[in-house]
Symmetry: C2
Subunit: 264 residues, 2 copies
């Protein structure tokens, strides 16, 4: 069964996009078929995967607001095999206000993903993972992603403010689970930009592991400038610096995620 | 005349909150009277300034949705003299959807700030600076902040994704300037988390200076773990580590901002 994973955290700059694109690349490199959906108007995931996403390009906006099927807007990633991408364009910035008054505004993405998976299956093509990159907010775009997914992966930057928003995020996920999507659960928490030399990183990591003992992945992602450089070359760190600590830690995280499976 | 400065950037984690609270503390330390308004539902600025902001506390939500005057919700900062704070609480998370259908939804904050400044002036109390910390989005909360302000200060993290969103941000500010607030302009850009050892930082800094030669402040903020540690003690770095590079760079930035003045 396809694993549909939403990468979410309303705190900004915690590594949502970095995690979405590098996990997708690591999984794809091991032969998994991956669909990446960029639902952040900034379009950072589209950039990192070298997908054109100008105002004239088809995008997730067409799926959410005009009912276009995913198969009409999806593009193959030029830098990594086995990855298909639905890009985000600047049009998406106005989508939340437009969605407020739309019928079934929260379930547009879920319906589109299920259609895509079913149509591929009918042609004998598997879809092993769907990975959704969210903007740093809990508005209707992220709610669409929560309604569409079965699992949430929360990246947490090992810094103080990261702890503050966590209870708000988990409460929101519970609310969605209680109303729009009973299958949804926080299956994984990934500690990012972990710097074992600083007391702050160690304290935050300990605190998160204490609160979520079953969800925090063993693998942590160290701070690495190669990870930050890769998007300026339109690449993931998996192809940009394949033997560096950044790539190795995301390959390790992907292996741990595959091993854990989706079972709650 | 009071300088009303909005700290905005829809890219997450670029140092908006860190800049808002540390600039406020640096200005207040030199005797300026500063009002800080936290309009981010995460409430990180309220935390850094040690302001209680539980669900039962009065907050910016009451000002925007119930028409409460700022004087009824403002609290004095316990760690730094000369700073008054309007905190954000978790209730604010639902405010954007609630504001969509409210009359004069974009100008609520502007009216409240002007009333506050006028009432203080009538009592002979100056308000030298109003600093507004925004969430990482361009929704109605940030639009309220753009409509209320005269100046925008854009913090830019010296990393690749930071460049992507800049043109979208500047275009949004132009739109507001053309409709809701003709006084609004991007007066300052501050380079944050600058690491002179990495090529990435230097390249991004050069690119931003080339595009915005007049707005980029001379002062840059280095990456410093003391800055990241301060909020876990409910302090700004100005009081937490007063002689470190973090505090010194924000004191220098505050002096540069005061010298430049508001004249465009
Ligand atoms: N492990 C890491 N080491 C070094 N830099 C990193 C790491 N992970 C992410 N970064 C950098 O930190 C910044 C923030 O990461 P990213 O943009 O992925 O976060 P995000 O949560 O998607 O942000 P937003 O909230 O704006 O969507 C980026 O410039 C990215 O390149
Ligand atoms: N110069 C710096 N050196 C080291 N760490 C910093 C620096 N500036 C900010 N930080 C840390 O980086 C993280 C992001 O900064 P901050 O929260 O201020 O950004 P933001 O733009 O307000 O984020 P959001 O988009 O979520 O509102 C925080 O953990 C903060 O402590
Ligand atoms: Mg992102
Ligand atoms: Mg902030």
């Amino acid at each position: 069964e396809t694993r549909i994973i939403t990468i979410a955290n309303q705190k900004g700059g915690v590594g949502k996009t970095t995690t979405a694109v590098n996990l997708a690349a690591a999984l794809a490199q091991s032969g998994q078929q991956v669909l990446v959906i960029d639902i952040d108007p900034q379009g950072n995931a589209s950039t990192a995967l070298s997908i054109p996403h100008g105002i004239e390009d088809a995008s997730i906006y067409d799926v959410l607001l005009d009912g276009a099927p995913i198969k009409d807007v999806v593009q193959a990633c030029p830098t990594v095999d086995n990855i298909q991408v639905v890009p985000a364009t600047i049009e998406l910035a106005g989508a939340e206000i437009e969605l407020v008054t739309t019928v079934s505004r929260e379930t547009k993405l879920r319906e589109a993903i299920h259609t895509y998976i079913a149509e591929r299956a009918a042609q004998g093509l598997p879809t092993h993972y769907v990975i959704i990159d969210c903007p740093p907010s809990l508005g209707l775009l992220t709610i669409n992603a929560f309604t569409a997914a079965r699992e949430v992966l929360i990246p947490i930057q090992c810094e103080y403010y990261a702890l503050e928003g966590l209870s708000m995020l988990v409460r929101n996920i519970e609310l969605i689970r209680g109303s729009l999507n009973p299958d949804l659960w926080v299956s994984m928490i990934l500690l990012t930009m972990f710097d074992k030399r600083t007391k702050l990183s160690l304290e935050v990591a300990d605190e998160v592991r204490a609160h979520f003992p079953n969800q925090v992945l063993e693998t942590t992602i160290p701070r690495s400038v190669r990870i930050a450089e890769a998007p300026s070359h339109g690449e993931t760190v998996i192809t940009y610096d394949p033997t560096g600590t950044g790539a190795l830690s995301y390959l390790e995280a992907a292996a741990e995620i595959a091993d854990r499976g989706a079972i709650s």
